[in-house]
Symmetry: C2
Subunit: 293 residues, 2 copies
Amino acid sequence: MNEESFVRKLTALFPQSPDVAVGPGDDCAVLDLGTPDLILAAVDQVISEVHYTKDTSPEAIAGKLLKRNISDIASMGGVPTHVLLSLAVNPMDENWLLAFHQGIANLAAQYGISVIGGDMAKLFTPGQALSLTILGKVERGKLCLRANAGEGDLLYATGCFGSSFRSGHHLTFTPRLKEARFLAGDFTCAMQDVSDGLLKDAVRMAEASGLALQLDPDSVPRREGASEDSALTEGEDYELLFAVPQRLRSRLESAWPFPDTPLSCIGRFVSGTPGAVSGLKSNQLKTGYDHFR
Amino acid sequence: MNEESFVRKLTALFPQSPDVAVGPGDDCAVLDLGTPDLILAAVDQVISEVHYTKDTSPEAIAGKLLKRNISDIASMGGVPTHVLLSLAVNPMDENWLLAFHQGIANLAAQYGISVIGGDMAKLFTPGQALSLTILGKVERGKLCLRANAGEGDLLYATGCFGSSFRSGHHLTFTPRLKEARFLAGDFTCAMQDVSDGLLKDAVRMAEASGLALQLDPDSVPRREGASEDSALTEGEDYELLFAVPQRLRSRLESAWPFPDTPLSCIGRFVSGTPGAVSGLKSNQLKTGYDHFR
């Protein structure tokens, strides 16, 4: 069984209470607690030897962990508010832990995030498994879901793709929070971030929206030195994918206020088999990182 | 540096926004989002070879992980509402994962909890690091904090203590949710659960409340076969400790509606050095599980 179908099988085990506006399957869960804003919640982890190498500094690890969670909040159109940390580490080295927490604190302060709780425990073997739960909020009119792409909408992406691990981008990236806030509600209501690979994540959006996708691989901007294959499938780009109605295209492109963030139209959602992709070259059939491979 | 002082040092790194009613340091963080009820949030984990042995079933592991988090919500006087899972596992065995998730689902359904999200990733070595974030809610008049014990209050405990690991109690326990809901607001506003050892957790409550504690070790009910030392220090009991004003003592003991849950008065909060304990025998100086030992 591949990851997608296995996760669907697991998700089917979990009925949702009425205050859950969006359950598992998007970048964040969405809770409607009766407040003016909706509440967002997500969890993501980084693991030694998987998400970073042994020579990565605790500050850089902390940064990656927090920023990839901020990216999940951004992709829903929201802003991050609170986080909880769950750390399994060995050894429980006080210098390492202090530097890690200082890295979280510095970045949390930048984004106005409160670190409200956590747990630390000893891992059974040297290494780390580090998890962070993030809460956020989003105005009801700004909520973006992967399932909201419409037929004929254009698929846009921020930034460049590929070679994230080799270039160090996976540690140094800035989550596209201000770009997402600019877009949400006014230009898009269908957005997600790219963590598992552009192609895989774009297919998820198309599938969730019940649409097929015409992709134009040549229009995907690549990071320096990145192959086309890497740009489409390697992942860890932490860029935004979002659907824009055709009528808003010229308004978006002329209003885009982030000269340092590339904005690219890379495809179009069309009617067809949900999640089917056309436009790929014959050798582009890999669809990103599968956690079960 | 011991765990307590190191955690205090880390906590000092994190300023809290105005909507955080209670930040790190209690069983849960408390958020005031302007809704009638306050929001509770906590995270806790279980790790293979640390919190369970290799022969533990995935359902039992799932149960321990969810129940110890429910115990944290109970100790604040609240009810659990939503959880997110973060699993680092190796191998990513589908049968194991399915059984684990089924265990979570069965128990979540019993407690009316929605599993709203999660993340799964491969650990770098065989074993598991499993984390669960829980959200809950509590009426403003029922919120219980460790810092709320008053001078002269009696220290009560539910249940029996000691030998939790050897007896299997650490897997089979029932979180004291209904007992906590009965107590909160009406009989106590100072409560916590015992995870790291009765003595250590009682000291935390006394210290947070700025009081000393007269403990009566002989009145602590012990699990079958448990030594007095084990009852005071081993932990993983998942029982409630709570402070009751003297004037409510007889009313509490006559109204206690849980014949299967022992209710014991085991001490008293008094003025003195915050966190100082009297009443211990000379050999009872260990104060529970220190994650840094």
